[in-house]
Structure formats: C-alpha cells, structure tokens
Symmetry: C2
Subunit: 343 residues, 2 copies
DNA sequence: GCGACTTCTGCAATCGTTTGCAGACGCCCC
DNA sequence: GGGGCGTCTGCAAACGATTGCAGAAGTCGC
C-alpha cells in the first residue's frame, strides 16, 4: 500500500537496448545465454557491457509471465525442525540452485488444510516443480499437482497410486540389519516400536521387521508391535511403557531415533539400563545420537543423497513431464554403538 | 525448452470476466479483497462464483509485474543443517505465510560469492524483503539490499553500520549467566572457547565473558581465550586441545553447543571426566544436548521467538521502508545440567 | 550478375493483472 | 426539472520480458 517509492527505477531491457543502439528483442537475445548465438559476437558484447554498466537485472516476473516458467521450485516439509529434513533440504537446494532455480520452502505441520493452501499458493507463483516431503495418506497435494499440471516428486515417503517419482530409504533392508544384529547378539524376544499409521515409512519398517524375524527363524506372532501416536520423543516413551508393561522382551527395534529416545526416557524412569538389560536400535542416525548415553545403535540413511537425488528426479520430471516415473531406494547401513549388547 | 504442453490452459481473469459478463478490470476489483468494496455486492458474488467454477487462480507473476510486489520474501542462512536455524526458519515462515508471503530459502555456505549470487537471484525475483541470518563481516549482502532497495533485517547476527533492524540474543547476558554459575560453583580459572572471528555472536560472547569475569572480581587477563576456526565440533575439539595444553583451568565456557561437544570429544581422548574434573558450558541449547553424556549445561536462547520477531520486523520494514530501525535483544536463560559441577 | 541461401536484426504481439481516468447512471435537493 | 454529487463500471495503458515472422544484408555458386 504505502510503499513510498523513492526507489531508483531499475533499468529495463528497453533501457539497455536504447543505450546499446539495438532493438529490445535483440538485447533480449544477447542477454539470454540460450539465444546469445543468434546475435553477432560484437553486438552481444556491447549489449552485455551496457547491461553491466546500467546494473540491469532480468525481471524474473516479466520473463516468467511470458515463458510460463518461474524458475522456482517448491518444497513442502511437515516440520523443518525434525532433524531429518534439514540435510535433505540443503542438498536439494544446492542441486537446484546450481541449475538456476530458487527454492520456496513451507511447513505443512501435517495439517491437510494448510498443505492445500500452500500448494495453491505455490501454484499461484507458477512453480516449475514441487518436492513433497510431507505426503501422508489423505493428502490432496498430489491431486492438486496433477490438476495444476505441476511436476512433482516424493521424498522420504511413498504414496500408493500417486504416479510420481520418489526417492526413499530401503526401510525394509535397514530394519533387517537391525534385527539381524540383535539376533546375532542372542536376542529372541524382540519388540517393534512402530511409527504412526498412515505413513509409508512406518508401514515399511513394520513389514521389514516381521519379514526379518521370519528370516531369522523367529515367530513374528510372538513379537509385540506397538505403534506410537507420532514420531516424537513423548509418543515413543508412552508406547515404550506399554511394551515394557507387557514384559518379557530383551530388545526394542524403534522405527525412528526420536522414538528410541523415548525408550531411553522410559527406561530411565524404570531404572532399566539401556545397552545392558535392554537393547535398543533407532533409525535415521540423527545428529548427536552418537553422544547420547549410551550412544545409539541405529540405521544410518543417506540424507544428503536423498535430497540430491530427489532434486535430480524433479529436474528430469520438469524437463520431460511425460517421461515414466522412477523410484529410487537408497541403501541404509547399520551403525553399531552402545545401546545394544548381548542378552 | 521442451515443455510439451498438454497443459489445460488455466483460466485467466479475462475468462472469468467474460463468463461473468463484466469487464476484466471489474473482475479484478471483485477478486481482490482490498478493492472488493469498489464493486457491488452482487457483482462481487457473481464474479467470485464464476472464478470458483472456472478454477481461476491469480497469477502471482502477472500481478507482481504490475504491482512491483512479488509477495515473496527471501531468507538466507549459512547452513540449514546447523541446528539453530531450523527453529528460526520455521517460526519466520509461519509468521510470513500467515501474512500471505511465500518464503524463498537458500544456503550461503558462508561463501561470499555464493551469497552475492543468491541475493542477486532473489532480487531478480523481486522479493519484497530479505532476512539475513548469514551476514558475516565482509558480506556484500547488505550493500546489495540497499542498491536494490530491498527491505532487510538481520537475525541472530548484527553488523556494524548496516543500518538494518536486527534481532539477536542477549549474548552478553547469556554468557554472564554461565560465568556466574561457574563462579558460584567455586571455579576461578575459567577459560573461554570463543567463536570464529568476524562473527558478531562470537565477539559479543567474548566481550560478555570478559565483562562477567570482571564483575565477579576475577582478572580477565589471566583467563585464557582461544578462538575456534569455525562453529563446528572438530574446530571446537582442536581449540580445546590448545586450551588444555596450556593447563591450569577447571572450566570452559564455550561460545556454542557445537564447540562444547568438541570439548567433550577432546576430554574423552584425554580421559578427562566432563562435569567432574572439567566443567563445560555451551550456548544455544540445541536439541538433544539434554541427553548427552553428561547432559550439557547451556544457555537456552529463544529460537522460535527470534524467527517470529525477525519476521515481524521485516513485515514492518516492508510496510514502511523509511521507518527507523529497531534492534531487539532476546533474553537468554541458563539451563543447568550435568556438565558443570563444583571444582 | 543474378538467384538462392544463410545470418542477423527489427517488428509487433503476447503473457495476465492492475489502476488512473473518465463516463454512465441514479439520486437528492433546491 | 436541472445541477451537483456519489457510486459503480469500462477503457486502455501500463508492468518487462520473449518469440514467430519477416525483411535486410551478406555470401556463395554458377
């Protein structure tokens, strides 16, 4: 409203053209790397210099309006504060920035209404692509992308029938590593502290857990599985309490480091020594879990690679919207520390 | 280039106008909350319905081109993976989103060239404002903002003579809390593990350290101060090694939790028990430092408030570019845990 | 020396909104 | 009944770039 504009009017491409003695269209061609070849070397140089001297900067708005490409991509995360997202975002942003894209970031709070609004807003800004790190079941984000014809990829989560490329961890394999490790230590009564329902990582890890037990010759039906309400410390603690109340277990495979920390807390309350009386494994290898007491045995995933690959997938999808979808699964590895020990 | 457009052409305001039997300008007024009052109730309703039916979405590009406002703000951070930034970003994004702004995020890597390029890119996108969480000395970001007439605020760092609003922690007071705590425990030979030079937080905390010693009646000249090369674990460990080599100290006030963790590591290597033989304090209260071994005594800062306040300041600056600058200092509090003990 | 061909530049339309200006219309009051 | 005023809507010109088309040179070969 009240933008008291004392702003020095920015130079436009028309100014540059006039100053360089050429037509704006020629200036445009000279200034755009892709079309520079269409003008004489000499003209290109002259226009370039004038542009430099006048401090000209392309207006992404005007260019985007004409070309219908904003050179912006959006990234939706549930909650940036969750430590697994920053590395993903950082890697993705780096990759995209290298290709000349700016990155719009927004938090959905796992709130579908909010998510809807944010996707719509991004559509208004004509984002060239969307990276969805939030998609839970019930999300309309995918449908909206289709409606607005915005290329999109999923990261960290899959979604059935979304018809989108995705990059995820090999959760099944990762959990199998944890289970095999515990079995190797002699554990037979192993429980699973699962993630909240409706989230693909939770489902995959739960399935991986059962499969791994079977492979180890154990009966999955006798292995307790309890789902936490959320991927949070407190939810983990509560679920753990139920697990311990049932009794009889010597190890817990948590779906997540955050949940594993909940286990630490409940164990502390009960005077149980993690790593001795009770073995615990996490998932993600968040920063600093190597300095917990005890250091957490966990499954390390490739955060940065996930972001970078997702960015690549998105770039492909933007370049060729009709190309077939691809799903990448990134290898996970077990990091053995002090929270697991022989039974 | 090859966007094989099978895209269903989006409805424009002209389509809506035609369908509603009014002129595009009227439709524009009806669809814009600020100008809705200029048209009849009845027209507004009709246009609104048609827009809804046609699935019309305002093109932020076209609107921005005309109004010279993009409704986008940019946020520059050095490194999103540094745990203090996510909460700041999250709070800022929430506040800005509520006001209808989208948020462009980019990492500078503390690389001035990169920073320059990113600010330029954001200027191309005609951001309405910029939040700089990265500004170190020597940064041209501030100058660029002035040149491009982009309202900006600093967050977490100050910059002399920048002439910008800023929101920071009360570092001096925060460090004083840590020092007073240690002195209260009987420590007299206290060292400071300072942050890298050229960064305002490092300078403020260093100054706070000296001032606090004086206030406690100790001689600051006999208190060793060594600066780490960076705010990182490894840099902290190296600087700590030099501190311990010099000998004679019973406590270390680290400028940062990350540096404090470096102290943990070096202490471990030397068989020193943190919390007993050596007391250590951090700064920031990053997630999970409460579960370190030992739990870290540290100064808690108001991350979220910082982001929210910075967003507010930026909103003010955008609304009234010529209004006077304001500097907020947020109160810090000491959280006593296991890493400090009586000498 | 002329036609065909290539290479470079200019012309003008276009992307989708917003907004100053002015006209139309209805109403009130003298 | 007419002048004045207020309210609503239409007109057209921006905003700053891109691009299909066409014309102007210049080149080459015969």
């Amino acid at each position: 409203m009240s933008r008291r504009t004392s702003a020095p009017p920015r130079a436009t491409i028309t100014d540059v053209a006039r100053e360089a003695g050429v037509h704006p269209s020629t200036a445009s061609r000279a200034l755009n790397p892709d079309t520079r070849g269409m003008v004489t070397e000499e003209v290109a140089a002259r226009v370039g210099q004038v542009a430099e001297r006048l401090g000209w900067r392309r207006s992404a708005l005007a260019a985007g309006l004409r070309t219908r490409r904003s050179r912006i991509v959006g990234i939706l995360v549930p909650d940036l504060v969750n430590p697994i997202f920053p590395p993903i975002l950082r890697a993705a942003e780096a990759r995209l920035a290298a290709e000349g894209y700016a990155t719009l970031v927004a938090n959905t709070d796992n709130d579908l209404t909010r998510e809807h609004m944010l996707v719509a807003r991004m559509a208004e800004h004509l984002v060239d692509g969307l990276m969805l790190a939030s998609a839970a079941e019930g999300s309309e984000a995918v449908a909206l992308c289709r409606r607005y014809a915005i290329p999109a990829v999923l990261v960290n989560r899959r979604l059935r029938g979304a018809g989108l490329s995705s990059v995820t961890n090999d959760d099944v394999h990762g959990i199998a590593l944890a289970v095999a490790h515990l079995v190797g230590l002699g554990h037979r009564r192993i429980a699973h502290l699962a993630g909240p329902p409706g989230i693909s990582t939770a489902a995959d890890r739960r399935a991986g857990f059962r499969a791994a037990l079977v492979r180890a010759g154990l009966d999955p039906r006798s292995a307790p599985i309890i789902a936490a309400e959320a991927y949070s410390r407190e939810a983990g603690r509560l679920a753990c309490a139920r697990l311990l109340d049932a009794g009889g277990i010597t190890a817990i495979v948590a779906a997540n480091d955050m949940l594993a920390l909940g286990v630490y807390e409940e164990a502390e309350r009960r005077g149980i020594v993690v790593g001795r009386t009770l073995s615990v494994t996490g998932f993600n290898d968040m920063p600093f879990v190597d300095r917990m007491a005890p250091p957490l045995t966990t499954v390390r995933i490739q955060h940065a690679a996930m972001g970078a690959e997702a960015a690549s997938l998105l770039l492909s999808a933007m370049a060729a919207p009709d190309a077939p979808r691809r799903s990448l699964r990134l290898r996970a590895e077990l990091v053995v520390r002090g929270s697991t020990g022989p039974t």
